[in-house]
Protein backbone atom coordinates (compact mmCIF):
# COMPACT_ATOMS: atom_id res chain seq x y z
CA UNK A 1 0.00 0.00 0.00
CA UNK A 2 1.21 3.45 -0.82
CA UNK A 3 1.80 5.56 2.24
CA UNK A 4 0.20 8.96 2.14
CA UNK A 5 2.80 11.71 1.76
CA UNK A 6 3.39 14.05 4.71
CA UNK A 7 1.14 17.09 4.57
CA UNK A 8 4.08 19.46 4.54
CA UNK A 9 7.81 18.90 4.09
CA UNK A 10 10.30 21.72 4.46
CA UNK A 11 13.68 20.81 2.99
CA UNK A 12 16.82 22.87 3.48
CA UNK A 13 14.99 26.18 3.30
CA UNK A 14 17.01 29.40 3.07
CA UNK A 15 15.95 33.03 2.83
CA UNK A 16 18.35 35.95 2.57
CA UNK A 17 17.26 39.57 2.76
CA UNK A 18 20.16 41.55 1.27
CA UNK A 19 22.69 39.29 2.93
CA UNK A 20 20.78 38.89 6.19
CA UNK A 21 20.07 35.22 6.69
CA UNK A 22 16.49 35.29 7.94
CA UNK A 23 16.05 31.54 7.47
CA UNK A 24 19.09 29.26 7.32
CA UNK A 25 18.89 25.63 6.24
CA UNK A 26 15.63 24.84 8.01
CA UNK A 27 14.09 21.39 7.50
CA UNK A 28 11.15 19.73 9.21
CA UNK A 29 8.01 17.76 8.41
CA UNK A 30 4.43 18.32 9.46
CA UNK A 31 2.28 15.29 10.20
CA UNK A 32 -1.37 15.09 9.25
CA UNK A 33 -3.88 16.41 11.78
CA UNK A 34 -1.35 17.54 14.34
CA UNK A 35 -0.78 20.91 15.91
CA UNK A 36 2.80 21.98 15.34
CA UNK A 37 4.00 25.08 17.11
CA UNK A 38 6.94 27.14 16.00
CA UNK A 39 8.56 29.11 18.78
CA UNK A 40 11.63 31.24 19.13
CA UNK A 41 12.73 34.66 20.38
CA UNK A 42 11.75 37.81 18.46
CA UNK A 43 13.42 37.98 15.07
CA UNK A 44 13.95 34.22 14.93
CA UNK A 45 12.33 34.04 11.48
CA UNK A 46 8.98 32.52 12.40
CA UNK A 47 6.85 34.90 10.38
CA UNK A 48 9.37 34.79 7.52
CA UNK A 49 8.96 31.03 7.49
CA UNK A 50 5.17 31.43 7.23
CA UNK A 51 5.58 33.93 4.42
CA UNK A 52 7.74 31.44 2.55
CA UNK A 53 5.27 28.59 2.99
CA UNK A 54 2.33 30.72 1.83
CA UNK A 55 4.21 32.19 -1.12
CA UNK A 56 4.23 35.82 0.01
CA UNK A 57 7.84 35.81 -1.20
CA UNK A 58 9.96 33.01 -2.66
CA UNK A 59 12.78 31.28 -0.74
CA UNK A 60 16.41 31.81 -1.76
CA UNK A 61 16.86 28.05 -1.90
CA UNK A 62 15.34 24.85 -0.59
CA UNK A 63 12.05 23.11 -1.16
CA UNK A 64 8.54 23.23 0.25
CA UNK A 65 6.41 20.18 -0.50
CA UNK A 66 2.68 20.13 0.23
CA UNK A 67 0.86 16.80 -0.06
CA UNK A 68 3.70 15.50 -2.20
CA UNK A 69 3.50 18.48 -4.57
CA UNK A 70 6.35 20.96 -4.90
CA UNK A 71 4.91 24.41 -4.09
CA UNK A 72 8.22 26.22 -3.62
CA UNK A 73 7.77 28.64 -6.48
CA UNK A 74 4.00 28.94 -6.68
CA UNK A 75 2.25 32.28 -6.14
CA UNK A 76 0.36 32.82 -2.92
CA UNK A 77 -3.09 32.57 -4.52
CA UNK A 78 -2.14 29.24 -6.11
CA UNK A 79 -0.87 27.90 -2.80
CA UNK A 80 -4.08 29.05 -1.10
CA UNK A 81 -6.15 27.25 -3.75
CA UNK A 82 -4.30 24.03 -2.98
CA UNK A 83 -5.55 24.19 0.61
CA UNK A 84 -3.11 26.22 2.73
CA UNK A 85 -4.77 29.06 4.57
CA UNK A 86 -3.31 31.50 7.06
CA UNK A 87 -3.87 34.38 9.44
CA UNK A 88 -1.53 37.27 10.06
CA UNK A 89 0.26 38.57 13.10
CA UNK A 90 -1.15 42.05 12.61
CA UNK A 91 -4.84 42.68 12.03
CA UNK A 92 -5.54 41.93 8.38
CA UNK A 93 -9.32 42.01 8.14
CA UNK A 94 -10.75 44.17 5.38
CA UNK A 95 -12.17 47.26 7.09
CA UNK A 96 -14.24 48.32 4.10
CA UNK A 97 -16.16 45.06 4.22
CA UNK A 98 -18.60 43.79 6.84
CA UNK A 99 -18.06 40.79 9.10
CA UNK A 100 -19.96 38.54 6.71
CA UNK A 101 -18.22 39.87 3.61
CA UNK A 102 -14.83 39.21 5.18
CA UNK A 103 -15.77 35.56 5.48
CA UNK A 104 -17.30 35.56 1.98
CA UNK A 105 -13.91 36.69 0.62
CA UNK A 106 -12.44 33.50 2.04
CA UNK A 107 -15.03 31.24 0.38
CA UNK A 108 -14.12 29.15 -2.64
CA UNK A 109 -15.24 30.11 -6.13
CA UNK A 110 -16.16 26.76 -7.71
CA UNK A 111 -18.30 28.41 -10.41
CA UNK A 112 -15.30 30.42 -11.61
CA UNK A 113 -17.26 33.66 -11.27
CA UNK A 114 -15.37 36.51 -12.93
CA UNK A 115 -16.23 39.93 -14.32
CA UNK A 116 -18.31 38.49 -17.14
CA UNK A 117 -20.49 36.12 -15.15
CA UNK A 118 -20.87 38.65 -12.35
CA UNK A 119 -21.67 41.56 -14.69
CA UNK A 120 -24.48 39.72 -16.45
CA UNK A 121 -25.53 38.08 -13.18
CA UNK A 122 -25.60 34.67 -14.80
CA UNK A 123 -27.00 31.66 -13.01
CA UNK A 124 -23.54 30.61 -11.82
CA UNK A 125 -23.06 33.96 -10.13
CA UNK A 126 -26.39 33.77 -8.28
CA UNK A 127 -25.57 30.22 -7.26
CA UNK A 128 -22.15 31.33 -6.05
CA UNK A 129 -23.65 34.14 -3.95
CA UNK A 130 -26.14 31.72 -2.43
CA UNK A 131 -23.62 28.99 -1.64
CA UNK A 132 -20.95 31.35 -0.37
CA UNK A 133 -23.44 33.02 1.94
CA UNK A 134 -24.52 29.64 3.25
CA UNK A 135 -20.92 28.69 3.94
CA UNK A 136 -20.20 32.06 5.57
CA UNK A 137 -23.16 31.69 7.92
CA UNK A 138 -22.10 28.16 8.76
CA UNK A 139 -18.61 29.37 9.64
CA UNK A 140 -19.88 32.33 11.65
CA UNK A 141 -22.19 30.05 13.61
CA UNK A 142 -19.15 28.05 14.72
CA UNK A 143 -17.88 31.05 16.66
CA UNK A 144 -21.11 32.79 17.61
CA UNK A 145 -20.59 35.77 15.33
CA UNK A 146 -23.60 35.05 13.08
CA UNK A 147 -25.57 37.80 14.82
CA UNK A 148 -22.98 40.34 13.68
CA UNK A 149 -22.89 39.27 10.04
CA UNK A 150 -23.64 42.74 8.70
CA UNK A 151 -21.57 44.68 11.26
CA UNK A 152 -18.61 46.77 10.17
CA UNK A 153 -15.22 45.48 11.33
CA UNK A 154 -14.67 48.65 13.36
CA UNK A 155 -17.40 47.68 15.80
CA UNK A 156 -15.95 44.27 16.68
CA UNK A 157 -13.83 43.68 19.78
CA UNK A 158 -10.23 42.50 19.51
CA UNK A 159 -11.25 38.98 20.46
CA UNK A 160 -13.94 38.94 17.79
CA UNK A 161 -11.51 40.20 15.18
CA UNK A 162 -8.94 37.56 16.06
CA UNK A 163 -11.62 34.89 15.81
CA UNK A 164 -13.05 36.31 12.59
CA UNK A 165 -9.65 36.20 10.96
CA UNK A 166 -9.39 32.50 11.70
CA UNK A 167 -12.93 32.00 10.41
CA UNK A 168 -12.09 33.78 7.17
CA UNK A 169 -9.11 31.47 6.79
CA UNK A 170 -11.14 28.28 7.26
CA UNK A 171 -14.04 29.36 5.02
CA UNK A 172 -12.21 27.78 2.08
CA UNK A 173 -12.02 24.44 3.94
CA UNK A 174 -8.21 24.24 3.93
CA UNK A 175 -6.31 21.11 4.91
CA UNK A 176 -3.49 23.12 6.47
CA UNK A 177 -4.11 26.18 8.61
CA UNK A 178 -1.28 28.50 9.59
CA UNK A 179 -1.88 30.77 12.58
CA UNK A 180 0.47 33.65 13.31
CA UNK A 181 0.06 34.58 17.00
CA UNK A 182 -3.67 33.87 17.28
CA UNK A 183 -3.75 34.74 21.00
CA UNK A 184 -1.71 37.95 20.86
CA UNK A 185 -3.42 40.64 22.91
CA UNK A 186 -5.98 38.30 24.42
CA UNK A 187 -6.32 37.42 28.11
CA UNK A 188 -7.50 34.61 30.41
CA UNK A 189 -10.86 33.31 29.31
CA UNK A 190 -10.58 34.81 25.85
CA UNK A 191 -7.52 32.64 25.26
CA UNK A 192 -9.27 29.52 26.56
CA UNK A 193 -12.19 30.12 24.20
CA UNK A 194 -9.83 30.64 21.29
CA UNK A 195 -7.98 27.42 22.08
CA UNK A 196 -11.28 25.53 22.16
CA UNK A 197 -12.08 26.91 18.75
CA UNK A 198 -8.69 25.87 17.37
CA UNK A 199 -9.13 22.36 18.79
CA UNK A 200 -12.60 22.23 17.25
CA UNK A 201 -11.07 23.10 13.86
CA UNK A 202 -8.38 20.47 14.35
CA UNK A 203 -11.01 17.82 15.08
CA UNK A 204 -12.47 18.47 11.65
CA UNK A 205 -9.25 17.09 10.20
CA UNK A 206 -7.34 20.33 9.68
CA UNK A 207 -3.60 20.32 10.33
CA UNK A 208 -2.43 23.41 12.19
CA UNK A 209 0.90 25.20 12.32
CA UNK A 210 1.03 27.97 14.86
CA UNK A 211 3.35 30.65 16.11
CA UNK A 212 2.51 31.76 19.63
CA UNK A 213 4.33 33.58 22.39
CA UNK A 214 2.09 32.47 25.26
CA UNK A 215 4.07 29.46 26.45
CA UNK A 216 1.28 27.82 28.43
CA UNK A 217 -0.84 27.80 25.28
CA UNK A 218 2.00 26.30 23.24
CA UNK A 219 2.82 23.62 25.79
CA UNK A 220 -0.82 22.72 26.30
CA UNK A 221 -1.95 22.63 22.66
CA UNK A 222 0.98 21.37 20.61
CA UNK A 223 1.69 17.82 19.55
CA UNK A 224 5.15 18.90 18.52
CA UNK A 225 7.27 22.03 18.66
CA UNK A 226 9.97 23.39 16.37
CA UNK A 227 12.30 25.99 17.87
CA UNK A 228 13.98 28.63 15.74
CA UNK A 229 16.72 31.03 16.77
CA UNK A 230 18.35 33.53 14.38
CA UNK A 231 16.81 31.68 11.44
CA UNK A 232 18.23 28.30 12.46
CA UNK A 233 16.25 25.35 13.76
CA UNK A 234 17.78 24.55 17.15
CA UNK A 235 15.33 21.97 18.44
CA UNK A 236 12.33 19.86 17.50
CA UNK A 237 10.18 17.43 19.45
CA UNK A 238 7.33 17.03 21.92
CA UNK A 239 6.66 19.89 24.37
CA UNK A 240 8.49 17.96 27.14
CA UNK A 241 11.53 17.24 25.00
CA UNK A 242 11.82 20.79 23.77
CA UNK A 243 11.37 22.40 27.17
CA UNK A 244 14.25 20.35 28.56
CA UNK A 245 16.58 20.89 25.62
CA UNK A 246 19.65 22.87 26.81
CA UNK A 247 19.89 24.63 23.43
CA UNK A 248 16.37 25.99 23.87
CA UNK A 249 16.98 27.12 27.43
CA UNK A 250 20.11 28.88 26.30
CA UNK A 251 18.34 30.65 23.45
CA UNK A 252 15.51 31.84 25.67
CA UNK A 253 17.32 32.61 28.92
CA UNK A 254 20.86 33.31 27.76
CA UNK A 255 24.12 31.40 28.11
CA UNK A 256 24.86 32.34 31.71
CA UNK A 257 21.59 31.04 33.01
CA UNK A 258 22.05 27.81 31.12
CA UNK A 259 25.50 27.41 32.67
CA UNK A 260 24.12 27.89 36.19
CA UNK A 261 21.35 25.33 35.79
Amino acid sequence: MLTEPKILEIKGLNKNFNGLKAIFDVSFDVEREEILSIIGPNGAGKTTLFNLITGVFPPSSGKIIFNGKDITHLKSHQIASLGISRTFQTQSLFNSLTTGENVLIGCKNPGGVGFFKAGLRLKKCKKDEFQSLKRAKEVLCMCGLERKISWPIGSLSLRERKVLEIMRAIASEPSLLILDEPAAGLRGREIDELMDLILQIKRKGVTIIMVEHQMDVVMHMSNRIVVLNYGVKISEGSPQEVSQDPAVIQAYLGGDFAAIT
Partner: protein, 316 residues
Amino acid sequence: MKRSLPILFIFLAVIIFPFVLPQSYQSYGLMVLTFVGIYVIILMGLDLILGYCGQIAMGHNGFFALGAYSTAILSQRTNLPHILIIVLGILSTCSVAYVIGVPTLRLRGFYLALATLAFGSVVYSLLVGYSELTGGYTGIRNILPFTIGGYSFDTDVKNFYLIWLVAILALLLTLNIANSRIGRTLKAVQENEVTAGTLMINVNRTKIRVFVLSSAYASLAGSLYAHYVGFICPSDFTLVITVQLFLMLFIGGKGTIWGCLIGALFFKTLSEFTASAEQFELALQGILFMLVLILMPDGLMGRARHIAEMRHAKAK
Protein backbone atom coordinates in the same frame (compact mmCIF):
# COMPACT_ATOMS: atom_id res chain seq x y z
CA MET B 1 -36.21 44.06 -5.86
CA LYS B 2 -34.94 46.77 -3.52
CA ARG B 3 -31.90 47.16 -5.72
CA SER B 4 -33.82 47.70 -8.96
CA LEU B 5 -36.11 50.40 -7.53
CA PRO B 6 -33.65 53.31 -7.90
CA ILE B 7 -32.83 52.14 -11.43
CA LEU B 8 -36.51 52.14 -12.34
CA PHE B 9 -36.72 55.65 -10.93
CA ILE B 10 -33.80 56.82 -13.07
CA PHE B 11 -35.31 55.13 -16.10
CA LEU B 12 -38.61 56.99 -15.63
CA ALA B 13 -36.81 60.26 -14.93
CA VAL B 14 -34.91 59.91 -18.19
CA ILE B 15 -38.08 59.20 -20.15
CA ILE B 16 -40.04 62.18 -18.87
CA PHE B 17 -37.14 64.65 -18.70
CA PRO B 18 -37.48 66.00 -22.30
CA PHE B 19 -41.23 66.53 -21.77
CA VAL B 20 -40.99 68.51 -18.55
CA LEU B 21 -38.19 70.72 -19.82
CA PRO B 22 -39.43 74.25 -20.68
CA GLN B 23 -39.39 74.82 -24.43
CA SER B 24 -36.86 77.66 -24.22
CA TYR B 25 -34.35 75.42 -22.42
CA GLN B 26 -35.04 72.33 -24.51
CA SER B 27 -31.82 71.99 -26.49
CA TYR B 28 -29.60 73.47 -23.79
CA GLY B 29 -30.96 71.27 -21.02
CA LEU B 30 -30.80 68.15 -23.16
CA MET B 31 -27.21 68.91 -24.13
CA VAL B 32 -26.10 69.26 -20.51
CA LEU B 33 -27.84 66.06 -19.47
CA THR B 34 -26.51 64.15 -22.46
CA PHE B 35 -22.97 65.09 -21.44
CA VAL B 36 -23.79 63.98 -17.91
CA GLY B 37 -24.78 60.60 -19.37
CA ILE B 38 -21.48 60.30 -21.23
CA TYR B 39 -19.52 61.18 -18.10
CA VAL B 40 -21.52 58.71 -16.03
CA ILE B 41 -20.41 55.90 -18.35
CA ILE B 42 -16.69 56.73 -18.02
CA LEU B 43 -17.02 57.38 -14.31
CA MET B 44 -18.43 53.94 -13.56
CA GLY B 45 -15.37 52.36 -15.14
CA LEU B 46 -13.14 54.74 -13.22
CA ASP B 47 -14.97 53.91 -10.00
CA LEU B 48 -14.27 50.21 -10.45
CA ILE B 49 -10.52 50.71 -10.88
CA LEU B 50 -10.09 53.66 -8.50
CA GLY B 51 -12.93 53.49 -6.00
CA TYR B 52 -13.16 49.73 -5.68
CA CYS B 53 -9.70 48.46 -6.58
CA GLY B 54 -7.78 51.50 -5.31
CA GLN B 55 -5.53 51.81 -8.34
CA ILE B 56 -4.88 55.45 -9.18
CA ALA B 57 -5.34 55.30 -12.95
CA MET B 58 -5.02 58.74 -14.55
CA GLY B 59 -4.98 57.84 -18.23
CA HIS B 60 -8.70 57.71 -18.88
CA ASN B 61 -8.59 60.76 -21.13
CA GLY B 62 -6.43 58.55 -23.40
CA PHE B 63 -8.96 55.71 -23.49
CA PHE B 64 -11.77 58.19 -24.04
CA ALA B 65 -9.81 59.59 -27.02
CA LEU B 66 -9.13 56.14 -28.46
CA GLY B 67 -12.86 55.39 -28.49
CA ALA B 68 -13.79 58.73 -30.01
CA TYR B 69 -11.11 58.71 -32.71
CA SER B 70 -11.66 55.08 -33.69
CA THR B 71 -15.33 55.84 -34.22
CA ALA B 72 -14.63 59.08 -36.07
CA ILE B 73 -12.02 57.60 -38.38
CA LEU B 74 -13.72 54.29 -39.11
CA SER B 75 -17.18 55.79 -39.64
CA GLN B 76 -15.76 58.22 -42.19
CA ARG B 77 -13.46 55.86 -44.04
CA THR B 78 -15.44 52.63 -44.00
CA ASN B 79 -19.02 51.54 -44.45
CA LEU B 80 -19.05 49.26 -41.44
CA PRO B 81 -22.17 49.45 -39.26
CA HIS B 82 -21.68 51.96 -36.44
CA ILE B 83 -22.38 49.43 -33.74
CA LEU B 84 -19.60 47.23 -35.09
CA ILE B 85 -17.23 50.21 -35.18
CA ILE B 86 -17.96 50.93 -31.53
CA VAL B 87 -17.24 47.31 -30.64
CA LEU B 88 -14.01 47.41 -32.65
CA GLY B 89 -13.08 50.61 -30.83
CA ILE B 90 -13.69 48.97 -27.47
CA LEU B 91 -11.69 45.89 -28.43
CA SER B 92 -8.71 47.90 -29.63
CA THR B 93 -8.82 50.18 -26.58
CA CYS B 94 -8.92 47.11 -24.35
CA SER B 95 -5.89 45.67 -26.15
CA VAL B 96 -3.99 48.90 -25.60
CA ALA B 97 -5.08 48.94 -21.94
CA TYR B 98 -3.88 45.36 -21.55
CA VAL B 99 -0.49 46.11 -23.04
CA ILE B 100 0.12 49.15 -20.85
CA GLY B 101 -1.62 47.59 -17.85
CA VAL B 102 0.62 44.55 -17.54
CA PRO B 103 3.79 46.50 -16.74
CA THR B 104 2.26 49.57 -15.05
CA LEU B 105 -0.13 47.81 -12.67
CA ARG B 106 2.89 46.31 -10.93
CA LEU B 107 3.56 49.86 -9.80
CA ARG B 108 1.75 51.27 -6.81
CA GLY B 109 0.20 54.56 -5.75
CA PHE B 110 2.26 57.44 -7.04
CA TYR B 111 4.13 55.46 -9.64
CA LEU B 112 1.02 54.00 -11.21
CA ALA B 113 -0.55 57.46 -11.28
CA LEU B 114 2.48 58.88 -13.09
CA ALA B 115 2.73 56.01 -15.56
CA THR B 116 -0.93 56.21 -16.55
CA LEU B 117 -0.74 60.00 -16.65
CA ALA B 118 2.10 59.64 -19.12
CA PHE B 119 -0.04 57.32 -21.21
CA GLY B 120 -2.77 59.95 -21.48
CA SER B 121 -0.20 62.50 -22.58
CA VAL B 122 1.24 60.12 -25.16
CA VAL B 123 -2.20 59.63 -26.70
CA TYR B 124 -2.70 63.39 -26.81
CA SER B 125 0.65 63.93 -28.56
CA LEU B 126 -0.14 61.20 -31.07
CA LEU B 127 -3.48 62.82 -31.87
CA VAL B 128 -1.71 66.08 -32.55
CA GLY B 129 1.27 64.61 -34.33
CA TYR B 130 -0.23 61.88 -36.47
CA SER B 131 -2.25 64.38 -38.46
CA GLU B 132 -2.82 62.39 -41.69
CA LEU B 133 -5.11 60.14 -39.70
CA THR B 134 -6.36 62.41 -36.92
CA GLY B 135 -6.39 65.83 -38.55
CA GLY B 136 -3.90 67.16 -35.99
CA TYR B 137 -5.01 70.17 -33.94
CA THR B 138 -8.01 70.80 -36.17
CA GLY B 139 -9.40 67.35 -35.44
CA ILE B 140 -12.13 65.54 -37.36
CA ARG B 141 -15.33 67.20 -38.51
CA ASN B 142 -18.70 66.00 -39.74
CA ILE B 143 -18.83 62.71 -37.90
CA LEU B 144 -22.16 61.09 -38.73
CA PRO B 145 -24.73 60.61 -35.99
CA PHE B 146 -25.05 57.08 -34.65
CA THR B 147 -27.11 54.97 -37.03
CA ILE B 148 -28.43 51.49 -36.50
CA GLY B 149 -30.49 49.52 -39.02
CA GLY B 150 -31.15 52.66 -41.06
CA TYR B 151 -32.41 54.57 -37.99
CA SER B 152 -30.33 57.65 -37.32
CA PHE B 153 -30.00 59.31 -33.91
CA ASP B 154 -29.84 62.75 -35.45
CA THR B 155 -31.69 64.94 -32.95
CA ASP B 156 -30.89 66.05 -29.41
CA VAL B 157 -33.76 64.08 -27.94
CA LYS B 158 -32.79 60.87 -29.74
CA ASN B 159 -29.18 61.23 -28.62
CA PHE B 160 -30.29 61.93 -25.08
CA TYR B 161 -32.32 58.73 -25.01
CA LEU B 162 -29.60 56.70 -26.71
CA ILE B 163 -26.85 57.77 -24.34
CA TRP B 164 -28.95 57.36 -21.23
CA LEU B 165 -30.12 53.94 -22.37
CA VAL B 166 -26.49 52.89 -22.67
CA ALA B 167 -25.68 54.54 -19.34
CA ILE B 168 -28.47 52.66 -17.57
CA LEU B 169 -27.41 49.34 -19.08
CA ALA B 170 -23.83 50.08 -18.01
CA LEU B 171 -25.13 50.96 -14.56
CA LEU B 172 -26.88 47.61 -14.27
CA LEU B 173 -23.73 45.80 -15.37
CA THR B 174 -21.56 47.76 -12.97
CA LEU B 175 -23.87 47.28 -10.00
CA ASN B 176 -23.96 43.54 -10.69
CA ILE B 177 -20.17 43.47 -10.62
CA ALA B 178 -19.91 45.68 -7.55
CA ASN B 179 -22.41 43.61 -5.58
CA SER B 180 -20.87 40.25 -6.41
CA ARG B 181 -17.78 38.34 -5.38
CA ILE B 182 -15.84 40.59 -7.77
CA GLY B 183 -16.79 43.76 -5.91
CA ARG B 184 -15.53 42.27 -2.66
CA THR B 185 -12.39 41.00 -4.36
CA LEU B 186 -11.61 44.47 -5.69
CA LYS B 187 -12.02 46.05 -2.26
CA ALA B 188 -9.82 43.37 -0.74
CA VAL B 189 -7.09 44.07 -3.30
CA GLN B 190 -7.34 47.77 -2.50
CA GLU B 191 -6.92 47.22 1.22
CA ASN B 192 -4.17 44.62 1.32
CA GLU B 193 -2.68 42.81 -1.66
CA VAL B 194 -0.70 40.33 0.43
CA THR B 195 -3.74 39.23 2.45
CA ALA B 196 -5.85 39.08 -0.71
CA GLY B 197 -3.24 36.80 -2.29
CA THR B 198 -3.40 34.35 0.61
CA LEU B 199 -7.19 34.23 0.14
CA MET B 200 -6.93 32.69 -3.35
CA ILE B 201 -7.20 36.05 -5.11
CA ASN B 202 -4.94 36.42 -8.14
CA VAL B 203 -4.05 40.03 -7.43
CA ASN B 204 -2.23 40.87 -10.65
CA ARG B 205 -4.86 39.32 -12.86
CA THR B 206 -7.65 41.10 -10.99
CA LYS B 207 -5.94 44.47 -11.37
CA ILE B 208 -5.30 43.97 -15.07
CA ARG B 209 -8.85 42.82 -15.75
CA VAL B 210 -10.47 45.71 -13.95
CA PHE B 211 -8.12 48.14 -15.70
CA VAL B 212 -9.04 46.71 -19.11
CA LEU B 213 -12.74 46.73 -18.24
CA SER B 214 -12.57 50.31 -17.11
CA SER B 215 -10.87 51.31 -20.37
CA ALA B 216 -13.81 49.73 -22.20
CA TYR B 217 -16.25 52.08 -20.44
CA ALA B 218 -14.12 55.07 -21.47
CA SER B 219 -13.89 53.86 -25.06
CA LEU B 220 -17.65 53.31 -25.29
CA ALA B 221 -18.27 56.79 -23.90
CA GLY B 222 -15.75 58.21 -26.39
CA SER B 223 -17.54 56.60 -29.34
CA LEU B 224 -20.92 57.94 -28.24
CA TYR B 225 -19.35 61.34 -27.65
CA ALA B 226 -17.94 61.45 -31.20
CA HIS B 227 -21.28 60.50 -32.75
CA TYR B 228 -23.16 63.00 -30.61
CA VAL B 229 -20.88 66.02 -30.97
CA GLY B 230 -19.94 65.34 -34.59
CA PHE B 231 -16.62 67.13 -34.22
CA ILE B 232 -13.64 66.09 -32.13
CA CYS B 233 -10.18 67.55 -31.66
CA PRO B 234 -7.24 66.75 -29.34
CA SER B 235 -8.12 69.51 -26.85
CA ASP B 236 -11.25 67.52 -25.89
CA PHE B 237 -8.97 64.83 -24.48
CA THR B 238 -6.37 66.63 -22.38
CA LEU B 239 -5.41 65.91 -18.81
CA VAL B 240 -8.10 68.39 -17.75
CA ILE B 241 -10.67 65.71 -18.62
CA THR B 242 -9.02 63.26 -16.23
CA VAL B 243 -8.89 65.87 -13.48
CA GLN B 244 -12.57 66.66 -13.99
CA LEU B 245 -13.41 62.96 -13.89
CA PHE B 246 -11.58 62.64 -10.59
CA LEU B 247 -13.40 65.68 -9.27
CA MET B 248 -16.79 64.24 -10.24
CA LEU B 249 -15.94 60.88 -8.71
CA PHE B 250 -14.80 62.44 -5.44
CA ILE B 251 -17.80 64.79 -5.24
CA GLY B 252 -20.17 61.88 -5.79
CA GLY B 253 -18.25 59.50 -3.57
CA LYS B 254 -15.86 56.87 -4.84
CA GLY B 255 -16.46 53.19 -4.35
CA THR B 256 -20.23 53.54 -4.43
CA ILE B 257 -21.17 53.42 -8.17
CA TRP B 258 -24.21 55.62 -7.41
CA GLY B 259 -21.74 58.38 -6.64
CA CYS B 260 -20.89 58.48 -10.36
CA LEU B 261 -24.40 59.63 -11.20
CA ILE B 262 -24.54 62.15 -8.40
CA GLY B 263 -21.04 63.46 -9.07
CA ALA B 264 -21.52 63.91 -12.82
CA LEU B 265 -24.91 65.58 -12.36
CA PHE B 266 -23.64 67.90 -9.65
CA PHE B 267 -20.43 68.82 -11.44
CA LYS B 268 -21.96 69.46 -14.87
CA THR B 269 -24.77 71.55 -13.42
CA LEU B 270 -22.30 73.51 -11.35
CA SER B 271 -19.91 74.06 -14.25
CA GLU B 272 -22.75 75.61 -16.24
CA PHE B 273 -22.67 78.36 -13.63
CA THR B 274 -18.90 78.54 -13.19
CA ALA B 275 -18.49 78.81 -16.99
CA SER B 276 -19.31 82.49 -16.63
CA ALA B 277 -16.05 82.87 -14.71
CA GLU B 278 -14.26 82.18 -18.02
CA GLN B 279 -10.50 81.99 -17.51
CA PHE B 280 -10.95 81.41 -13.79
CA GLU B 281 -13.15 78.36 -14.31
CA LEU B 282 -10.33 75.86 -13.83
CA ALA B 283 -9.15 77.70 -10.73
CA LEU B 284 -12.66 77.51 -9.29
CA GLN B 285 -12.78 73.79 -10.03
CA GLY B 286 -9.42 73.36 -8.33
CA ILE B 287 -10.66 75.13 -5.21
CA LEU B 288 -13.81 73.01 -5.27
CA PHE B 289 -11.69 69.86 -5.48
CA MET B 290 -9.65 70.93 -2.45
CA LEU B 291 -12.77 71.72 -0.46
CA VAL B 292 -14.33 68.37 -1.29
CA LEU B 293 -11.20 66.48 -0.27
CA ILE B 294 -10.95 68.36 3.02
CA LEU B 295 -14.59 68.62 4.04
CA MET B 296 -16.17 65.61 2.41
CA PRO B 297 -13.57 62.96 1.55
CA ASP B 298 -16.26 60.31 1.07
CA GLY B 299 -18.29 62.49 -1.28
CA LEU B 300 -22.03 63.15 -1.30
CA MET B 301 -22.87 59.46 -1.46
CA GLY B 302 -20.52 58.68 1.41
CA ARG B 303 -22.14 61.48 3.44
CA ALA B 304 -25.60 60.16 2.70
CA ARG B 305 -24.59 56.66 3.72
CA HIS B 306 -23.01 57.94 6.90
CA ILE B 307 -26.16 59.84 7.86
CA ALA B 308 -28.31 56.79 7.09
CA GLU B 309 -26.07 54.60 9.24
CA MET B 310 -26.21 57.06 12.13
CA ARG B 311 -30.00 57.09 11.95
CA HIS B 312 -30.05 53.33 11.81
CA ALA B 313 -27.82 53.13 14.86
CA LYS B 314 -30.00 55.61 16.75
CA ALA B 315 -33.15 53.67 15.89
CA LYS B 316 -31.57 50.61 17.47
